[in-house]
């Protein structure tokens, strides 16, 4: 094992390992994710922009990578930290091994780290600013300084950075084992405009499967442009960073809410929706990142196992009268879902689109369809 890579944290902690990506340096906030499967989906999830991810499962890369498991057109993480990169890829769908994939996407990545130690450190002290560096002549002291130089995520509007620069239409449906990923054959009954704050493809695929003709628009698209298209529903996507500074989005959402059009927000979209209605958000200690999180419906008491990926959360105590809480995390009782008391507007903090993760809350998409149906009639 040649130790040619380093993860340096802002508190001076150093973790040496072996590079499995490009030589270079990268900074971001380091977070851990406990999902056993789905590393490629995680790497390409735009919500991880400016974050360095460590995966708690020790073998990462077993199934290689393929084009179907990408949640966006690029790798968004600022770095990847794992315990072990396996010697070989074994999966019928694999087309490239993880290391080559990381190098192709110019990612700094480290293997050979005691990721459990790192995870415990983050659990105790919270998510941290960090620097990953790989190559010759690593200077630990300098790396710690570089880590500290990261501005952090609080107050950072990253949605506009990862968003599409121009609108586009989405056609693909969800993956299945026989056909892979191909345009959805569903009959298109609903016209949905999806705000791209860093949208994951699987959200769009599910919408397409459910009969939505989806148009994806840039984060900073003003409300009047949306309303002019007379959509049946508006979708607010997930995305990276702090929702609070995204005033352009909050303003636009307020206007759309007032129009009475059904709105569904996921993750950052849910936070922006809540902010638009007057709630407050705050940064969590180390956030929720995993695929095993129990979320309870406050209506029926049903527990769903959900995929989660957020470092900011809506504070339930600050919910305005117009919003009611619909879901709560059974891990820490934090707010997981809201629904407007009068309007066809709702949001969910976790990831009902899964990818990676369980499909338990896919029915939330059906609720969106129902709202559009009701709104139309």
């Amino acid at each position: 094992m040649t130790e040619n890579a380093l993860l340096a944290l802002e508190d001076g902690s150093l973790f040496y390992g072996t590079s499995i990506g490009i030589d270079g340096e990268s900074i971001g906030e380091v977070v851990f994710n406990t999902s056993i499967t789905g590393y490629q989906e995680i790497l390409t999830d735009p919500s991880y922009y400016k974050q360095i991810v460590t995966l708690t499962h020790p073998h990462i890369g077993n199934v290689g990578t393929n084009s179907e498991d990408e949640e966006s057109s690029q790798v968004f993480v600022s770095g990847l930290i794992i315990r072990d990169l396996p010697l070989v890829v074994s999966n019928w769908r694999a087309t490239e091994n993880l290391s080559d994939y990381l190098i192709r996407h110019k990612i700094v990545a480290i293997a050979g780290i005691d990721t459990r130690q790192l995870t415990r450190h983050l659990r105790k002290h919270g998510a941290m600013k960090a620097c990953v560096v790989a190559g010759e002549n690593i200077d630990a002291e300098k790396s710690v300084k570089t880590a500290k130089s990261f501005a952090g995520l609080v107050g950072m509007d990253l949605a506009k950075e990862v968003s599409t620069s121009s609108a586009y239409n989405w056609a693909d449906g969800t993956w299945d084992i026989e056909g892979g990923i191909k345009p959805s054959s569903s009959k298109k009954e609903w016209r949905v405009i999806a705000y791209d704050f860093g949208v994951k493809r699987n959200i769009l695929r599910i919408l397409a499967d459910l009969g939505c003709e989806v148009k994806v628009v840039p984060a900073q698209t003003p409300a009047n442009e949306i309303l002019a298209e007379k959509p049946d529903g508006v979708f607010l996507s997930n995305g990276p960073g702090d929702p609070d500074p995204c005033d352009y989005a909050i303003t636009a959402i307020k206007e759309i809410i007032n129009s009475g059009i059904p709105i569904f927000g996921i993750c950052l979209g849910h936070q922006l929706l809540s902010l638009a209605l007057g709630a407050k958000t705050s940064k969590m200690k180390f956030g929720h990142h995993g695929a095993n999180h129990p979320v309870q419906s406050l209506d029926g008491g049903q527990v769903s196992i959900t995929s989660q990926n957020h470092g900011f959360a809506v504070d339930e105590k600050t919910l305005p009268d117009s919003l009611r809480a619909t879901h709560r995390s059974l891990f820490d009782d934090s707010l997981q879902g809201v629904h407007h008391n009068k309007l066809p507007v709702f949001g969910f903090q976790g990831h009902p689109e899964a990818s990676p993760g369980p499909h338990d809350l896919k029915p939330l998409f059906n609720h969106f369809i129902e709202l559009m149906q009701e709104h139309k009639t």
């Binding site: 094992m1 851990f32 499967t37 020790p58």
Partner: protein, 1073 residues
């Protein structure tokens, strides 16, 4: 939804004796269920015929019935106890089948007992192959093409549709008994015939072969609000074709993308919903085509299983405990995930940050005639689990936990004989117990990963890692010890190599490598199993070792007692020792010590994380134990409770300065060392059968001449009578010496004069170093010569005079003092014409400790462990154990039915897998119950066949007379017939097999015989009568192979109407029905 208040008492059915396919995992689940329900305030009634279990400890339930697990007996218990509900999902297939019988016979309805945990409709739907197929069809899940057949005609038609190879699975049998894979018509017809017979519904399923597909399992838990969670995924290293219980398995699944995994997760939940498992744990088995990911369902079990025990230990999520709570009305969100100290609810899916490997343990060496190919019928008797941060580490830890003498990927192919590659290819193609090691040998002999894959279909992900380990081995072998720099050593240790294996490769001793390692301060760290990949803090000290950076052991400075467990179950060492270890942990916790358990068997109660204060799930090797001791620094280590496994380490531990408490390793050695022990006996004036110790053939022959034949011969230092035989002449002896010395390596072979028709006696005693207390004297039913683990025994003795018993007690006392025993001591005697001979003494926990404890009501193991920490017997208020005024009989249970071709004859080598206990007011009643519990049903009338060896003829007359009086028609072979007729007993002669047809086997096949007494001695007679015993076994005809067993059977037959059922709690108060 809170717990139900409409039910107050619950009956739990246990799994009965340990058999292949049903081992101590059901003690673990049953014990958890008892605990879970009692803490909720329910009255728990338990029935289990197996006295070796922890669940039948009288403290575990409110009323404990060690009674036969059949519907008739359970009905009597229900009638007496009137439980409101019955929980059938904790005792494996045995409990499920018993519950279905109770339902079918109207017992549940009659007494208003509700089945909770699983409804009969769900059980039927899951277990009935046809219904299951229809259900899977309905939810759109594929299954292998298959046909259901009930007879040979249907079987013939089915194979034309399915084609070869075909998989045959009998319905409603456990561990796939009677099933197999057929590659040709002959094999097919044979397996179908066997399968139809093995199935209680005479039904088998013939499946299209999907050999070579990848096999997976999911462990699912569902509550009545339809919350479903997956506790664990398990990937089999062995592809489809090998029973999952016989497969090497890995958790979590390693070669699925998230999309494929979620597809499997969705399918698992759909299966539970469709089958209608309302609450509790189930497992679903899948096969995946490695070419295109196609997913098919193989089967599901609507109950906790061996896999769920494995999943519980692998994740830290106690499935049985949670399932029990769900059965009484809770929902998952209302229950805590206790390993995090309640920080999180039970309604989540464990995430694990290590790799778990399970390797099954086989005992084919006990059954040389058995077909040792691994197929869809389970053949393993135990398993070992290991955890590591990588697959390689986890795999190599599991390997060395097996205690089969391997230290890693040791070479296995016989390089001296024939074409090596041919041999390897054969072993890769047809899986047997050792296939894993042939994979390594294949790489050593130049096969590529692709070539190996093409033969055995083990996923390349696993193959590459084994290949890498072989490369590392080659490199070390070439570069030698000098290459073991600090960096290199760390690298190898991180890949899981044991010190011992490194020593072999670098031509060093194990202690050299250890020293090298310690000098460079290369030690493992201990990480915690917390079910959540460190996302939440866990106060639970459930740990495994790994070579990584951060150590989480955080030892306390309390006074600690460490218990070394028994490792994987095998014949001769099983649940009895786990019982003892658990008792030790409980007793020491009560005594105020911090308790530490070390074990690697995932089925056990000892490896439940709350049995002791701290649990190290580690192989029981010197290296791993010393590494734990380095961190924990215990006050005392107990080696005498876990069977041979920890005993083997005693000497080395002691010389490493480890404080072993109780009887010293030197005393243990003194008792084991024939020459030293002989001297001791001479000093205190006790008798042994004439004996000699031999280190080579010539010594043996000379010794044998001195003491005379027949002889009992065995290697020293073995458990379970491994390689123990009775030899009648010099040829046999020479033959034996040639084979046995290989078995025992350098230890000598012991020769004892065999005492004909002697009564064997087992005595368990406790000593505090001063006083000795006799815990129980057990008289064996079968005469000396049958391994004590295989013979039935009675407590108190049923024929020994008080005088002989007193003498025995005195002798035990004298030996315990002479050996300075502190703790337990087991002695075996042979009584011949009132002469008492000492056969052997073992100053450690014996197999009979749990039986004696249940029979007497005194927890022998707890008392003894208190002695070890210095509490005298007097201070514990135990000067003698009162002899109960009822009889308890222990009977053994054998795996012969699983091994076609094996002779079910009893002998000096132990072959039983488990035991049952029967209690009665008379010996006959207790013995009858023991037989019933062992699954033997006495015929009440009909034809009896008698054929005995010369020495037994006198007693055969007594037996025959009794049988005749009881109304049986008698048949006998010529010699026996002559003797019986001479004694005036009406009897018909029947041909031996070699005397031509029609002969006795024909009669058996025509169901014309109902009871068999068949005793034999020399090799020829044994071979001649083999087909009688085997046919009897297959046709479920009651048979006994010893004359003493026949005599006891007569006693039992006279007890026609034994109906009393007794709880241990009543018995121990002296109340007996």
């Amino acid at each position: 939804m809170p717990k139900r208040t409409d039910i107050k008492s619950i009956l739990i059915i246990g799994a009965g004796p340990i058999i292949i396919g049903q081992a101590c995992e059901f003690d673990y689940s049953g014990a958890q269920a008892c605990k879970a329900l009692r803490e909720e305030g329910f009255r728990v009634i338990l029935v289990n015929s197996n006295p070796a279990t922890i669940m039948t400890d009288p403290e575990m339930a409110d009323a404990t019935y060690i009674e036969p697990v059949n519907w008739q007996t359970v009905e009597r218990i229900i009638e007496k106890e009137r439980p409101d509900a019955l929980l059938p999902t904790m005792g494996g297939q045995t409990a499920l089948n018993c519950a279905l019988d109770l339902d079918r016979k109207g017992v549940l309805e009659k007494f208003g007992v509700e089945m909770i945990g699983a409804k009969k409709e769900a059980i039927n739907k899951a277990e009935d192959r046809d219904l299951f197929r229809i259900a899977m069809n309905k939810i759109g899940l594929a299954m292998p093409r298959s046909e259901i057949v009930h007879n040979m005609e249907e079987a013939k038609a089915a194979i034309d549709i399915i084609g070869f190879p075909a998989v045959v699975r009998p319905s409603f049998t456990l561990g796939g008994t009677g099933g197999g894979i057929a590659y040709n018509r002959d094999e097919y017809m044979e397996i179908c015939e066997r399968g139809v017979e093995a199935s209680p519904t005479n039904e088998v399923q013939v499946d299209e072969s999907i050999l070579g597909w990848k096999e997976y399992e999911t462990e699912v838990v569902r509550d009545k609000k339809d919350n479903c969670i997956i506790i664990c995924t398990i990937e089999n290293l062995d592809p489809v074709g090998v029973h999952t219980g016989d497969s090497i398995t890995i958790a979590p699944a390693q070669t699925l993308t998230d999309k494929e995994y979620q597809m499997m997760r969705d399918a698992s939940i759909k299966v539970l919903r469709e089958i209608g498992v309302e609450t509790g744990g189930s497992n679903v088995q899948f096969a995946v085509n490695p070419e295109n990911g196609a997913l098919i369902v193989i089967e599901m079990n609507p109950r906790v299983s061996r896999s769920s025990a494995l999943a519980s230990k692998a994740t830290g999520f106690p499935i049985a405990r949670v399932a029990a709570k769900l059965a009484i009305g809770y929902t998952l969100d209302e229950l805590d995930n206790e390993i995090t100290g309640g920080a999180t609810p039970a309604s989540f899916e464990p995430s694990i940050d290590y790799i778990v490997t399970k390797i099954p343990r086989f005992t084919f060496e006990k059954f040389p005639q058995a077909d040792d190919r691994l197929t869809t019928q389970m053949k393993s008797v135990g398993e070992v689990m290991a955890m590591g941060r990588t697959f390689q580490e986890s795999l190599q830890k599991a390997i060395r936990g097996m205690e089969t003498g391997v230290t890693g990927f040791n070479e296995i192919v016989d390089e001296s004989s024939g074409n090596i590659l041919e041999q390897i290819e054969k072993e890769l193609r047809v899986p047997r117990a050792d296939r894993l090691w042939y994979v390594a040998d294949a790489f050593r002999h130049g096969l590529s990963i692709d070539e190996v894959f093409d033969i055995c279909f083990i996923d390349p992900w696993f193959l590459v890692q084994i290949h890498d380990l072989v490369e590392e081995e080659n490199k070390l072998r070439n570069e030698g010890a000098s290459s073991l720099s600090e960096k290199r050593l760390v690298e190898l240790k991180r890949k899981g190599f044991s010190d011992q294996r490194l020593a072999e490769l670098a031509d060093l001793s194990e202690s050299d490598v250890r020293k090298l390692r310690i000098d460079k301060n290369i030690r493992p760290v201990f990480k915690r199993v917390d079910s959540c990949a460190a996302e939440f803090e866990s106060a639970t000290a459930y740990m495994y070792s790994t070579y990584d950076v951060e150590c989480e052991a955080a030892p306390t400075d309390k006074q600690k007692i460490m218990v070394l467990g028994g490792g994987p179950n095998r014949i001769g060492q099983g649940i009895e020792f786990d019982y003892c270890c658990v008792q030790a942990a409980f007793a020491m916790r009560d005594a105020g010590y911090e308790t530490i358990m070390v074990n690697c068997n995932p089925e056990t109660v000892s490896t439940d994380y709350d049995t002791s204060d701290r649990l190290y799930f580690e192989p029981l090797t010197l290296e791993n134990v010393l590494d734990i001791i380095h961190v924990e620094k215990p006050y005392g280590v107990i080696v005498q409770y876990g069977g041979q496994t920890p005993l083997k380490l005693a000497r080395d531990l002691e010389s490493a300065g480890v404080p072993i408490i109780g009887t010293s390793p030197d005393s243990i050695d003194l008792a084991e060392d024939r020459e030293r022990f002989q001297k001791l006996l001479e000093d205190i004036g006790l008798k042994q059968p004439p004996n000699r110790t031999a280190r080579n053939v010539e010594q043996a022959v000379k010794g044998a001449e001195e003491i005379g034949y027949p002889l009992v011969v065995r290697p020293s230092y073995v458990l379970g009578g491994r390689a123990m035989e009775i030899v009648y002449n010099e040829d046999d002896l020479r033959n034996y010496m040639d084979n046995a010395v290989a078995v025992s390596n350098s230890s000598p072979v012991l020769l004892d004069r065999f005492l004909n028709n002697a009564i064997e006696v087992d005595v368990d005693a406790i000593s505090d170093g001063q006083d000795v207390c006799i815990a129980g004297i057990m008289e064996h039913i079968e005469q000396a010569g049958v391994h004590s683990g295989d013979s039935a025994c009675s407590l108190p003795p049923y024929s020994l005079s008080d005088e002989v018993q007193d003498k025995i007690a005195t002798q035990v006392g004298a030996m315990a003092r002479a050996l300075n025993v502190v703790g337990l001591m087991n002695t075996q005697f042979a009584i011949q014409n009132d002469d008492i001979y000492v056969l052997e003494v073992n100053p450690r926990a014996s197999r009979t400790i749990p039986f004696v404890s249940k029979a007497t009501g005194i927890s022998i193991a707890k008392v003894a462990v208190n002695c070890m920490v210095g509490n005298s017997l007097a201070s514990q208020g135990l000067t003698n154990v009162p002899v109960p005024d009822y009889y308890s009989v222990k009977e053994s249970v054998f795996p012969f039915i699983k091994f076609p071709g094996v002779d079910p004859l009893l002998g000096p080598e132990m072959k039983s897998t488990g035991e049952v206990m029967g209690v009665g007011k008379t010996f006959g009643e207790a013995f009858a119950k023991g037989q019933l519990a062992a699954g033997e049903e006495f015929p009440r009338e009909g034809n009896a066949f008698i054929s005995v060896k010369e020495i037994d003829k006198e007693k055969a007359v007594i037996v025959a007379r009794e049988l005749s009086l009881l109304g049986y028609e008698l048949y006998a072979t010529s010699g026996t017939c002559k003797v019986l007729k001479a004694a005036g007993i009406k009897c018909e002669r029947v041909n031996k097999v070699r005397e031509g047809q029609p002969h006795i086997v024909d009669m058996l096949k025509n169901d014309a015989i109902d009871l068999i007494v068949n005793t034999t001695e020399d090799k020829k007679a044994i071979a001649d009568s083999f087909s009688i015993r085997r046919t009897a076994l297959q046709h479920k005809v009651f048979y006994t192979t010893t004359i003493a067993g026949a005599m006891a059977t007569m006693e039992a037959l006279k007890q026609r109407d034994s109906v009393g059922v007794n709880s241990l709690q009543d018995l121990h108060k002296g109340v007996i029905a």
